[in-house]
């Protein structure tokens, strides 16, 4: 129905919830319960870290999914910028993904800080991993602010897409910071250069479960947020129409 270029919500985008996201939501809740049971009770304590290793199952998936979210933002932004795939839906996916990424990065920073307090003995220190992560976090808060600067939807999309393609370049710097510089933060547990996974089986399984649960949460959140952004855009577009309706009603009153 609506073929306006500034509003390409397809008729399928009915409400933010669909049978698919409802099923996904149930899966997320089940996964969360499983992760809590495995992470807090079933998985073993660590030889060196003791019980505090349990924070890893929230901290590491949070960081990974934040990386993934920012990469999705960059890919969707490229899809928007490319003429043949240009659609504001890509822009809204980029925005939704960045927002969820900031949320996950924030979670990772807070849980990491708590973990640091009980293992390192300090909440925060300016080593290369923590500093580059802070920079990444701040960059994407800036990205979200740029999205809110106003202008047309197309202006917003173009500006933020260029920024997203630049900002994503920080991710390799953050990930490899632990190998490029001396850091207090330990090296990558699983996806490090030349590091073999050296982790207790049940711990590794719990970490894997954490990644799965965070991935499902990510998909659910991005789907809903993307649709809610579409609603916001429609609301923006209808702003003038509402004003006109009011004006018309007024004119009609005057003629009677």
């Amino acid at each position: 129905m609506n073929t306006s270029s500034s509003l390409d919500a397809s008729p399928r985008d009915r409400v933010t919830g669909t049978p698919f996201t409802r099923g996904l939501g149930i899966l997320v809740l089940v996964g969360m319960v499983l992760l809590i049971v495995l992470g807090l009770f079933v998985s073993p304590a660590d030889v060196n870290q003791g019980e505090s290793v349990r924070i890893m199952y929230a901290h590491v998936p949070g960081a990974w999914l934040a990386y993934l979210a920012f990469i999705v933002t960059a890919v969707s932004s490229a899809a928007y910028l490319w003429n043949r795939t240009r659609s504001l839906t890509w822009d809204r996916i980029a925005g939704a993904s960045a927002e969820v990424g900031v949320l996950f990065m924030g979670i990772s920073l807070i849980t990491g800080s708590l973990w640091g307090r009980i293992t390192w003995g300090t909440y925060w220190t300016w080593d290369a991993r923590l500093t580059t992560t802070a920079f990444l976090f701040v960059t994407y808060i800036g990205y979200l602010a740029v999205r809110g600067l106003g202008g047309t939807h197309q202006q917003r999309a173009r500006r933020s897409a260029v920024l997203a393609l630049l900002a994503v370049l920080e991710i390799p710097l953050v990930h490899f910071s632990v190998e490029l510089w001396n850091t207090l933060h330990q090296e990558a547990s699983v996806a490090g250069r030349g590091t073999n996974v050296d982790m207790d089986g049940l711990m590794l399984f719990t970490l894997f479960l954490g990644v799965v649960v965070f991935t499902l949460m990510y998909v659910w959140l991005v789907l809903h947020r993307q649709r809610s952004l579409a609603l916001d855009d429609m609301l923006d577009d209808s702003g003038l129409d509402n004003a006109l309706t009011a004006r018309r009603a007024e004119a009609e009153r005057m003629t009677h």
């Binding site: 609506n2 019980e51 979670i107 807070i110 708590l114 973990w115 307090r117 959140l221 809903h224 609301l235």
Partner: protein
């Protein structure tokens, strides 16, 4: 459990933040969809 306070806090913050954000999205989009005129809603 040693450091139970820190560990439980980190789980509460993690799932609490995600839950609060999810509820926020749903509430906001319900409000928005009320304000979008019916003739503009593709689904009505």
């Amino acid at each position: 459990m040693d450091n139970a306070g820190f560990i439980i806090t980190s789980y509460v913050i993690t799932f609490g933040a995600v839950g609060a954000y999810a509820i926020g999205i749903i509430r906001r989009s319900r409000k928005s969809s009320r304000d979008v005129p019916r003739d503009q809603r593709p689904w009505s």
